[in-house]
Protein backbone atom coordinates (compact mmCIF):
# COMPACT_ATOMS: atom_id res chain seq x y z
CA UNK A 1 0.00 0.00 0.00
CA UNK A 2 2.87 2.30 0.82
CA UNK A 3 4.48 1.76 -2.54
CA UNK A 4 1.13 2.07 -4.32
CA UNK A 5 0.46 5.47 -2.83
CA UNK A 6 4.01 6.42 -3.70
CA UNK A 7 3.21 5.58 -7.30
CA UNK A 8 0.03 7.66 -7.10
CA UNK A 9 1.94 10.56 -5.73
CA UNK A 10 4.47 10.27 -8.50
CA UNK A 11 1.69 10.18 -11.13
CA UNK A 12 0.03 13.17 -9.60
CA UNK A 13 3.30 15.04 -9.54
CA UNK A 14 3.75 14.23 -13.18
CA UNK A 15 0.44 15.86 -14.08
CA UNK A 16 1.22 18.95 -12.06
CA UNK A 17 4.69 19.14 -13.47
CA UNK A 18 3.24 18.90 -16.92
CA UNK A 19 0.91 21.85 -16.34
CA UNK A 20 3.64 23.87 -14.71
CA UNK A 21 6.06 23.26 -17.52
CA UNK A 22 3.42 24.17 -20.06
CA UNK A 23 2.90 27.49 -18.35
CA UNK A 24 6.63 27.95 -18.19
CA UNK A 25 6.78 27.20 -21.90
CA UNK A 26 4.30 29.97 -22.62
CA UNK A 27 6.28 32.36 -20.51
CA UNK A 28 9.53 31.35 -22.18
CA UNK A 29 7.99 31.96 -25.58
CA UNK A 30 6.74 35.37 -24.55
CA UNK A 31 10.04 36.40 -23.03
CA UNK A 32 12.04 35.03 -25.92
CA UNK A 33 9.85 36.95 -28.31
CA UNK A 34 10.22 40.21 -26.44
CA UNK A 35 13.93 39.77 -26.06
CA UNK A 36 14.50 38.70 -29.62
CA UNK A 37 12.37 41.52 -30.93
CA UNK A 38 14.29 44.04 -28.94
CA UNK A 39 17.66 42.65 -29.95
CA UNK A 40 17.13 41.88 -33.59
CA UNK A 41 15.08 44.99 -34.17
CA UNK A 42 17.72 47.11 -32.59
CA UNK A 43 20.59 45.54 -34.44
CA UNK A 44 18.86 45.46 -37.78
CA UNK A 45 17.51 48.96 -37.57
CA UNK A 46 20.93 49.99 -36.43
CA UNK A 47 22.64 48.68 -39.48
CA UNK A 48 20.04 50.11 -41.84
CA UNK A 49 19.96 53.30 -39.83
CA UNK A 50 23.65 53.62 -40.54
CA UNK A 51 23.08 53.21 -44.26
CA UNK A 52 20.35 55.80 -44.17
CA UNK A 53 22.61 58.17 -42.27
CA UNK A 54 25.27 57.73 -44.91
CA UNK A 55 22.71 58.56 -47.59
CA UNK A 56 21.57 61.66 -45.71
CA UNK A 57 25.08 62.92 -45.10
CA UNK A 58 26.01 62.40 -48.75
CA UNK A 59 22.87 64.16 -49.94
CA UNK A 60 23.66 67.09 -47.67
CA UNK A 61 27.18 67.24 -49.04
CA UNK A 62 25.98 67.03 -52.65
CA UNK A 63 23.55 69.87 -52.07
CA UNK A 64 26.22 72.03 -50.46
CA UNK A 65 28.63 71.27 -53.31
CA UNK A 66 26.04 72.27 -55.89
CA UNK A 67 25.16 75.41 -53.97
CA UNK A 68 28.76 76.54 -53.77
CA UNK A 69 28.94 76.65 -57.55
CA UNK A 70 30.10 74.86 -60.66
CA UNK A 71 33.51 73.83 -59.28
CA UNK A 72 31.89 71.35 -56.93
CA UNK A 73 29.54 69.80 -59.43
CA UNK A 74 31.81 66.95 -60.50
CA UNK A 75 32.20 65.79 -56.92
CA UNK A 76 28.45 66.29 -56.44
CA UNK A 77 27.70 63.90 -59.29
CA UNK A 78 29.93 61.31 -57.65
CA UNK A 79 28.19 61.76 -54.30
CA UNK A 80 24.75 61.45 -55.86
CA UNK A 81 25.90 58.31 -57.71
CA UNK A 82 27.18 56.88 -54.44
CA UNK A 83 24.00 57.51 -52.55
CA UNK A 84 21.90 56.11 -55.35
CA UNK A 85 23.91 52.90 -55.07
CA UNK A 86 23.60 52.90 -51.26
CA UNK A 87 19.84 53.41 -51.38
CA UNK A 88 19.46 50.57 -53.87
CA UNK A 89 21.67 48.35 -51.69
CA UNK A 90 19.69 49.17 -48.55
CA UNK A 91 16.48 48.39 -50.40
CA UNK A 92 17.88 45.00 -51.38
CA UNK A 93 18.74 44.36 -47.76
CA UNK A 94 15.26 45.24 -46.61
CA UNK A 95 13.76 42.92 -49.22
CA UNK A 96 16.11 40.10 -48.26
CA UNK A 97 15.23 40.57 -44.62
CA UNK A 98 11.51 40.55 -45.24
CA UNK A 99 11.67 37.50 -47.45
CA UNK A 100 13.02 35.60 -44.46
CA UNK A 101 16.77 35.84 -44.77
CA UNK A 102 16.83 33.37 -47.66
CA UNK A 103 19.75 35.05 -49.34
CA UNK A 104 22.40 35.82 -46.80
CA UNK A 105 22.29 39.52 -46.03
CA UNK A 106 25.30 41.17 -44.43
CA UNK A 107 23.33 43.45 -42.09
CA UNK A 108 21.12 40.59 -40.97
CA UNK A 109 24.14 38.35 -40.38
CA UNK A 110 25.82 41.09 -38.42
CA UNK A 111 22.73 41.40 -36.23
CA UNK A 112 22.56 37.62 -35.91
CA UNK A 113 26.26 37.35 -35.04
CA UNK A 114 25.85 39.77 -32.17
CA UNK A 115 22.92 37.82 -30.76
CA UNK A 116 24.64 34.44 -31.17
CA UNK A 117 27.97 35.50 -29.64
CA UNK A 118 26.13 37.16 -26.82
CA UNK A 119 24.17 34.01 -26.12
CA UNK A 120 27.41 32.00 -26.13
CA UNK A 121 28.98 34.37 -23.63
CA UNK A 122 31.63 35.54 -26.09
CA UNK A 123 32.38 39.23 -26.16
CA UNK A 124 31.58 40.59 -29.62
CA UNK A 125 33.71 43.35 -31.11
CA UNK A 126 31.86 43.93 -34.37
CA UNK A 127 31.54 46.64 -37.00
CA UNK A 128 28.32 48.61 -36.84
CA UNK A 129 27.87 49.36 -40.49
CA UNK A 130 28.42 47.53 -43.74
CA UNK A 131 28.21 50.33 -46.30
CA UNK A 132 31.90 50.16 -46.99
CA UNK A 133 31.37 46.77 -48.62
CA UNK A 134 30.21 47.14 -52.25
CA UNK A 135 27.00 45.33 -53.26
CA UNK A 136 28.79 42.65 -55.29
CA UNK A 137 30.57 41.37 -52.17
CA UNK A 138 27.77 41.76 -49.64
CA UNK A 139 26.27 38.29 -50.04
CA UNK A 140 29.53 36.34 -50.07
CA UNK A 141 30.85 38.28 -47.07
CA UNK A 142 27.58 37.52 -45.29
CA UNK A 143 28.30 33.82 -45.69
CA UNK A 144 31.88 34.31 -44.52
CA UNK A 145 30.64 36.12 -41.43
CA UNK A 146 28.05 33.47 -40.65
CA UNK A 147 30.48 30.54 -40.98
CA UNK A 148 33.33 32.36 -39.26
CA UNK A 149 31.25 33.25 -36.23
CA UNK A 150 29.63 29.82 -36.09
CA UNK A 151 33.10 28.29 -35.99
CA UNK A 152 34.21 30.64 -33.24
CA UNK A 153 31.21 29.58 -31.18
CA UNK A 154 31.65 25.86 -31.91
CA UNK A 155 35.40 25.37 -31.92
CA UNK A 156 37.36 28.20 -30.39
CA UNK A 157 36.60 28.36 -26.68
CA UNK A 158 37.33 32.06 -27.13
CA UNK A 159 36.38 34.90 -24.80
CA UNK A 160 36.34 37.52 -27.52
CA UNK A 161 35.49 37.54 -31.21
CA UNK A 162 36.54 40.45 -33.35
CA UNK A 163 35.26 41.17 -36.84
CA UNK A 164 36.65 43.82 -39.16
CA UNK A 165 35.73 44.61 -42.74
CA UNK A 166 36.65 46.82 -45.63
CA UNK A 167 35.63 47.22 -49.28
CA UNK A 168 37.44 44.04 -50.35
CA UNK A 169 37.97 41.98 -47.19
CA UNK A 170 36.38 40.62 -44.05
CA UNK A 171 38.24 39.19 -41.08
CA UNK A 172 36.98 37.12 -38.13
CA UNK A 173 39.52 36.67 -35.32
CA UNK A 174 39.22 35.14 -31.86
CA UNK A 175 41.38 34.62 -28.79
CA UNK A 176 40.62 30.93 -28.33
CA UNK A 177 42.63 27.75 -28.68
CA UNK A 178 43.62 28.39 -32.30
CA UNK A 179 43.76 25.91 -35.20
CA UNK A 180 43.52 22.37 -33.90
CA UNK A 181 43.47 18.94 -35.52
CA UNK A 182 40.78 19.86 -38.00
CA UNK A 183 37.88 17.65 -38.90
CA UNK A 184 37.91 15.60 -42.07
CA UNK A 185 34.13 15.71 -42.35
CA UNK A 186 33.98 19.46 -42.10
CA UNK A 187 32.67 21.44 -45.03
CA UNK A 188 32.15 24.98 -43.74
CA UNK A 189 35.47 26.49 -44.79
CA UNK A 190 35.54 24.49 -48.02
CA UNK A 191 32.16 25.98 -48.92
CA UNK A 192 33.45 29.48 -48.29
CA UNK A 193 36.48 28.85 -50.51
CA UNK A 194 34.12 27.93 -53.33
CA UNK A 195 31.90 30.95 -52.85
CA UNK A 196 34.90 33.25 -52.74
CA UNK A 197 36.45 31.65 -55.81
CA UNK A 198 33.23 32.48 -57.67
CA UNK A 199 33.97 36.20 -57.23
CA UNK A 200 37.72 35.79 -57.76
CA UNK A 201 38.49 35.92 -54.07
CA UNK A 202 40.40 33.79 -51.58
CA UNK A 203 40.20 32.56 -48.00
CA UNK A 204 43.09 32.42 -45.54
CA UNK A 205 42.97 30.81 -42.10
CA UNK A 206 45.59 30.35 -39.43
CA UNK A 207 46.74 31.14 -35.93
CA UNK A 208 46.10 34.69 -34.71
CA UNK A 209 49.18 36.66 -33.58
CA UNK A 210 48.28 36.58 -29.88
CA UNK A 211 46.92 33.01 -30.00
CA UNK A 212 43.51 32.07 -31.33
CA UNK A 213 42.16 31.64 -34.81
CA UNK A 214 41.89 34.12 -37.64
CA UNK A 215 39.97 33.80 -40.88
CA UNK A 216 40.32 36.36 -43.65
CA UNK A 217 38.35 36.56 -46.87
CA UNK A 218 39.79 38.71 -49.63
CA UNK A 219 38.18 39.74 -52.89
CA UNK A 220 39.66 41.56 -55.88
CA UNK A 221 39.81 45.35 -55.90
CA UNK A 222 37.79 45.85 -59.11
CA UNK A 223 34.73 43.87 -60.17
Amino acid sequence: LGTLSLAMVAMNNMVQLNARLRRAGDEIARLAAVEERARVARDLHDVLGHSLTTITVKAGLARRLLETGPTGSERAVAEVGDLERLARQAMTEVRATVSGYREASLPAELAGARVALDAAGIRADLPHAVDDVPPRYQAVFAYVLREGVTNVIRHSGARTCRVRLGPTWLEVADDGTGPGGGDRRSSGLAGLRERLAAVGGTLATGPAPGGGFVLRASAPEAA
Binding site: D46, T54, H128
Partner: protein
Protein backbone atom coordinates in the same frame (compact mmCIF):
# COMPACT_ATOMS: atom_id res chain seq x y z
CA UNK B 1 47.82 80.15 -36.03
CA UNK B 2 45.82 80.32 -39.28
CA UNK B 3 42.77 81.40 -37.30
CA UNK B 4 40.83 78.49 -38.71
CA UNK B 5 39.03 76.02 -36.46
CA UNK B 6 40.96 72.75 -36.68
CA UNK B 7 38.92 69.57 -36.48
CA UNK B 8 39.56 65.90 -35.79
CA UNK B 9 37.01 63.51 -37.23
CA UNK B 10 36.52 59.98 -35.85
CA UNK B 11 34.08 57.64 -37.55
CA UNK B 12 34.46 54.01 -38.55
CA UNK B 13 32.29 54.38 -41.63
CA UNK B 14 34.71 55.52 -44.30
CA UNK B 15 31.90 56.84 -46.51
CA UNK B 16 30.45 59.01 -43.77
CA UNK B 17 33.84 60.19 -42.60
CA UNK B 18 34.79 61.19 -46.12
CA UNK B 19 31.53 63.04 -46.69
CA UNK B 20 31.71 64.87 -43.36
CA UNK B 21 35.32 65.85 -44.01
CA UNK B 22 34.41 67.21 -47.45
CA UNK B 23 31.41 69.02 -46.01
CA UNK B 24 33.42 70.72 -43.26
CA UNK B 25 36.19 71.43 -45.76
CA UNK B 26 33.79 73.58 -47.79
CA UNK B 27 33.71 76.10 -44.95
CA UNK B 28 36.40 78.77 -45.18
CA UNK B 29 36.89 78.92 -41.40
CA UNK B 30 37.18 75.18 -40.75
CA UNK B 31 40.01 72.78 -41.49
CA UNK B 32 39.93 69.00 -40.95
CA UNK B 33 43.40 68.14 -39.66
CA UNK B 34 42.98 64.48 -38.66
CA UNK B 35 40.71 61.55 -39.47
CA UNK B 36 40.58 58.19 -37.69
CA UNK B 37 38.37 55.11 -37.97
CA UNK B 38 38.58 53.65 -34.46
CA UNK B 39 38.01 54.90 -30.94
CA UNK B 40 41.40 53.83 -29.64
CA UNK B 41 43.16 55.91 -32.30
CA UNK B 42 41.57 59.17 -31.18
CA UNK B 43 43.98 60.23 -28.43
CA UNK B 44 47.18 59.59 -30.40
CA UNK B 45 45.86 61.40 -33.45
CA UNK B 46 44.69 64.30 -31.31
CA UNK B 47 48.03 64.63 -29.56
CA UNK B 48 49.75 64.72 -32.94
CA UNK B 49 47.37 67.18 -34.66
CA UNK B 50 46.16 69.16 -31.62
CA UNK B 51 42.71 70.02 -33.03
CA UNK B 52 40.41 72.65 -31.54
CA UNK B 53 37.37 70.44 -31.91
CA UNK B 54 36.92 66.65 -32.10
CA UNK B 55 33.83 65.13 -33.71
CA UNK B 56 33.45 61.60 -32.32
CA UNK B 57 31.10 58.93 -33.59
CA UNK B 58 29.70 56.77 -30.75
CA UNK B 59 29.78 53.27 -32.22
CA UNK B 60 33.34 52.56 -33.28
CA UNK B 61 35.69 49.60 -32.96
CA UNK B 62 38.30 49.59 -30.24
CA UNK B 63 36.68 51.83 -27.66
CA UNK B 64 33.49 53.76 -28.37
CA UNK B 65 33.35 57.49 -28.91
CA UNK B 66 32.07 58.16 -25.40
CA UNK B 67 35.03 56.40 -23.82
CA UNK B 68 37.34 58.13 -26.28
CA UNK B 69 35.85 61.48 -25.22
CA UNK B 70 36.72 60.81 -21.60
CA UNK B 71 40.32 59.91 -22.50
CA UNK B 72 40.63 62.88 -24.79
CA UNK B 73 39.53 65.23 -22.02
CA UNK B 74 42.43 64.00 -19.87
CA UNK B 75 44.98 63.96 -22.69
CA UNK B 76 44.06 67.23 -24.41
CA UNK B 77 41.69 69.28 -22.26
CA UNK B 78 41.70 72.24 -24.68
CA UNK B 79 39.98 70.17 -27.34
CA UNK B 80 36.19 70.54 -27.41
CA UNK B 81 34.29 67.34 -28.06
CA UNK B 82 31.12 66.92 -30.09
CA UNK B 83 29.52 63.48 -29.92
CA UNK B 84 27.99 62.49 -33.24
CA UNK B 85 25.57 59.63 -33.20
CA UNK B 86 23.14 57.76 -35.39
CA UNK B 87 20.88 56.83 -32.49
CA UNK B 88 20.22 58.27 -29.06
CA UNK B 89 20.51 55.24 -26.81
CA UNK B 90 19.59 55.16 -23.15
CA UNK B 91 22.60 56.41 -21.27
CA UNK B 92 24.42 58.00 -24.20
CA UNK B 93 23.58 61.54 -23.24
CA UNK B 94 24.47 61.01 -19.60
CA UNK B 95 27.79 59.42 -20.56
CA UNK B 96 28.55 62.17 -23.06
CA UNK B 97 27.95 64.83 -20.43
CA UNK B 98 29.96 62.92 -17.83
CA UNK B 99 32.85 62.73 -20.32
CA UNK B 100 32.79 66.50 -20.63
CA UNK B 101 31.43 66.64 -24.17
CA UNK B 102 30.29 70.08 -25.28
CA UNK B 103 28.03 68.84 -28.05
CA UNK B 104 25.64 65.98 -28.71
CA UNK B 105 24.28 65.93 -32.25
CA UNK B 106 22.81 63.48 -34.77
CA UNK B 107 25.10 62.60 -37.61
CA UNK B 108 22.44 63.22 -40.22
CA UNK B 109 21.69 66.74 -39.01
CA UNK B 110 21.59 69.25 -41.90
CA UNK B 111 25.13 70.31 -42.91
CA UNK B 112 24.40 73.87 -41.81
CA UNK B 113 23.61 72.64 -38.29
CA UNK B 114 26.74 70.50 -38.04
CA UNK B 115 28.94 73.37 -39.15
CA UNK B 116 27.16 75.63 -36.71
CA UNK B 117 27.71 73.12 -33.90
CA UNK B 118 31.46 73.12 -34.58
CA UNK B 119 31.58 76.92 -34.45
CA UNK B 120 29.51 77.11 -31.31
CA UNK B 121 31.43 74.58 -29.23
CA UNK B 122 34.63 76.23 -30.39
CA UNK B 123 33.19 79.47 -29.01
CA UNK B 124 32.68 77.75 -25.66
CA UNK B 125 28.95 77.04 -26.00
CA UNK B 126 27.13 73.79 -25.43
CA UNK B 127 25.12 72.27 -28.28
CA UNK B 128 22.62 69.52 -27.49
CA UNK B 129 20.09 68.39 -30.07
CA UNK B 130 16.83 68.38 -28.08
CA UNK B 131 15.16 65.61 -30.08
CA UNK B 132 18.22 63.44 -29.61
CA UNK B 133 18.30 64.25 -25.92
CA UNK B 134 14.69 63.15 -25.69
CA UNK B 135 15.53 59.93 -27.47
CA UNK B 136 18.28 59.17 -24.99
CA UNK B 137 15.77 59.66 -22.24
CA UNK B 138 15.70 56.35 -20.44
CA UNK B 139 19.13 56.62 -18.91
CA UNK B 140 18.33 54.90 -15.66
CA UNK B 141 19.91 51.47 -15.84
CA UNK B 142 23.67 51.45 -16.15
CA UNK B 143 24.86 54.53 -17.97
CA UNK B 144 28.52 53.92 -17.24
CA UNK B 145 28.83 50.29 -18.13
CA UNK B 146 28.01 49.87 -21.79
CA UNK B 147 29.15 46.27 -22.52
Amino acid sequence: MSGRITVLLADDQALVRGALAAMLGLEPDIEVVAQVGAGDEVVDAALAARPDVALLDVQMPGIDGLAAAARLRDALPSCKVVILTTFGRPGYLARAMAAGAAGFVVKDAPPEQLVDAVRRVHAGLRVVDPALAAESLASGASPLTER
